[in-house]
């Protein structure tokens, strides 16, 4: 049997459990209509109208996501290197120091340009 089957099994059980909970939650609770209750919560005032497809949000979050991708890919390069470290010998150490230094330059640049500041 494949090593992936237990994962699929666990995911399947969890999915059915979650789906069942949602259906059960819709059936077991009371249903009392109230227009104010069905509007988005905003501390009791009329909710701010939201455009279709989500409202505007600070560009900072987008930047964080981009930086995450850059650094996450760096980590992905570090993993195989770490696993085969003992076979690579000292050559691997020197190569990876160059790599980390390069990434560090990019990192300092981002820091210097204020990419990590959060007002």
């Amino acid at each position: 049997m494949n090593v992936a089957w237990p994962i699929i099994g666990l995911g399947g059980i969890a999915f059915f459990f979650a789906a069942f909970s949602i259906i059960a939650g819709a059936l077991t609770g009371p249903k009392i209509y109230n227009r104010a209750k069905l509007s988005a919560y905003e501390c009791g005032i009329e909710p701010t109208p939201q455009p279709v497809g989500g409202g505007r949000f600070p560009i900072k979050y987008y930047l964080t996501a981009m930086l995450f991708i850059v650094f996450d890919i760096e980590i992905v390069f570090l993993y195989p290197w770490a696993v085969s470290f003992d076979q690579l010998g000292f050559f691997g150490v020197i190569e990876m120091i160059f790599f980390i230094a390069t990434v560090f330059i990019a990192y300092s640049y981002v820091w210097r340009r204020g990419g990590l500041e959060w007002e």
């Binding site: 089957w5 969890a14 909970s21 949602i22 819709a26 905003e42 909710p47 964080t64 959060w118």
Partner: protein, 428 residues
């Protein structure tokens, strides 16, 4: 060369189907039970820390409180606001809960045992890159949160979801970097092999900085206090789950607690020797065999869960910019520097055949000196700045009506004499 006497990767994926089924169901039930117990424990422990008693009515010591909370939520109205994007809104809690359960599939509970005549490891499955799998599924879990915030069509939910995802991706980098040193020592990314590699020494002793970075980032990753900014009540009401009610809300709650258990289990596996007995007990023969290691494994998880609750009871919430600074400007450069140090130390040891003690001394002494110098410089600078600020406060005069609202003076501040406070408001 490393010897793995315990469980080899070949032991996975060969169970008969009924053993796999029982194991899958067992993991599912254990996670649900852990969640119910963790909710109860958290409420009781935080109550004790705040000089209260906490829930003690339902069952002995109130232990059924978590279950009762669930039943109560099931009997509440399932409100779906008309602003939501219905399909995504319903899908989001399912994604959160499913991924939370799925991460646990590669956590080793114990060594191989005989189960109704079948020799099987106490672990659902394992493969050469199982820690990478945990990170991947954890990343998918972020979708649950960001989609919940986006599909709610509410300002608070959107901001909470964005904050939460930005926070989780930021801390995932620090978390991922803290694993590198572990892989380097273990020579494998598979959880069972990492546990096997810790037979002599736990990695918490060899790689303490990695462990500390992991512990900080695991609290950030699970959105727990003091990093629970997505649900900062004062600013964002409930964060991404503001618009969720009834069992949909319960699913997010479940996912949060399962994630707590998972990151604790991962910390145990990677740094605390997994299911191995702690040092003095490990000398007794037989404590690392059969079903006994389940005790050590769950005790270690319980310690981590207690620390989670303890931190929550002790620390106030971070401010968002401070929190992001900690992640991006402290944890990431520290991890990178630490990985370099570990790599150089181990590389020197491997190629020059130096004993570990000498290598550590050769590299450690100058490094500690540099770190201390930097620390003292920073500390002096901070002190000087503080003194400057204090001096500035001492000479300040404030106009209590400058902004239109009356402000009381801070210690050391002097009020400006005014002829008429009324005039101060109209003119100022």
């Amino acid at each position: 060369m490393k010897l793995f006497p315990n469980v080899s990767l070949g032991a996975f994926g060969i169970d008969p189907w009924w053993v796999t089924l029982i194991k899958v169901l067992a993991v599912f039930v254990i996670l649900v039970l852990m969640t119910l117990l963790a909710i109860w424990a958290e409420r009781r422990i935080v109550a004790r820390m705040q000089m209260r008693i906490g829930p003690n009515r339902v069952g002995p010591f109130g232990i059924l409180q978590g279950l009762m909370d669930g039943v109560k939520l099931a009997l509440k109205e399932d409100v779906i606001p008309f602003t939501v994007d219905r399909a995504v809104y319903i899908l989001a809690p399912i994604i959160s809960a499913t991924t939370a359960f799925m991460t646990f599939a590669v956590i080793p509970f114990g060594p191989e045992v005989s189960f109704f005549g079948v020799i099987t490891p106490l672990q659902l499955t394992d493969f050469p890159v199982s820690v990478l799998y945990v990170l991947a599924i954890a990343s998918v879990g972020i979708y649950g949160i960001v989609l919940a915030g986006w599909s709610s069509g509410s300002t608070y939910a959107l901001l909470g979801g964005l904050r939460s995802s930005a926070q989780m991706v930021s801390y995932e980098i620090a978390m991922g970097l803290s694993f590198v040193a572990v892989f380097l020592y273990a020579g494998s990314m598979s959880t069972s092999q990492i546990v096997a590699a810790q037979e002599r020494t736990w990695y918490i002793l060899l790689l303490l900085p990695s462990f500390l970075i992991y512990v900080i980032s695991m609290v950030g990753e699970t959105n727990r206090a003091p990093f629970d900014l997505p649900e900062a009540e004062g600013e964002l009401v409930g964060g991404f789950h503001t618009e969720y009610s009834s069992l949909k809300f319960a699913l997010f709650f479940l996912a949060e607690y399962i994630n707590m258990v998972t990151v604790s289990a991962l910390a145990t596996t990677l740094f605390l020797g997994g299911w191995r007995a702690p040092f003095p007990i490990s000398l007794i023969p037989g404590v690392n065999e059969g079903w006994v290691p389940l005790i050590w494994f769950f005790s270690k998880i319980a310690v981590f869960l207690f620390v989670f609750i303890w931190i929550r009871g002790t620390l106030p919430r971070f401010r968002y910019d401070q929190f992001m600074n900690l992640g991006w400007k402290i944890l990431i450069p520290t991890s990178l520097a630490w990985i370099t140090i570990v790599a150089i130390t181990r590389g020197l040891r491997n190629s020059l055949d130096l004993p570990t003690g000498q290598t550590v001394a050769l590299l450690g002494v100058p490094l500690i000196a540099v770190a201390l110098t930097l620390f003292i410089r920073d500390w002096r600078k901070a002190n000087a700045e503080e003194a400057l600020e204090e001096n500035q406060i001492l000479v300040t005069e404030i106009d209590p009506f400058a902004g239109g609202h009356p402000i009381p003076p801070l210690p050391g501040q002097v009020l400006v004499e005014q002829t008429s406070s009324r005039q101060g408001i109209t003119n100022g």
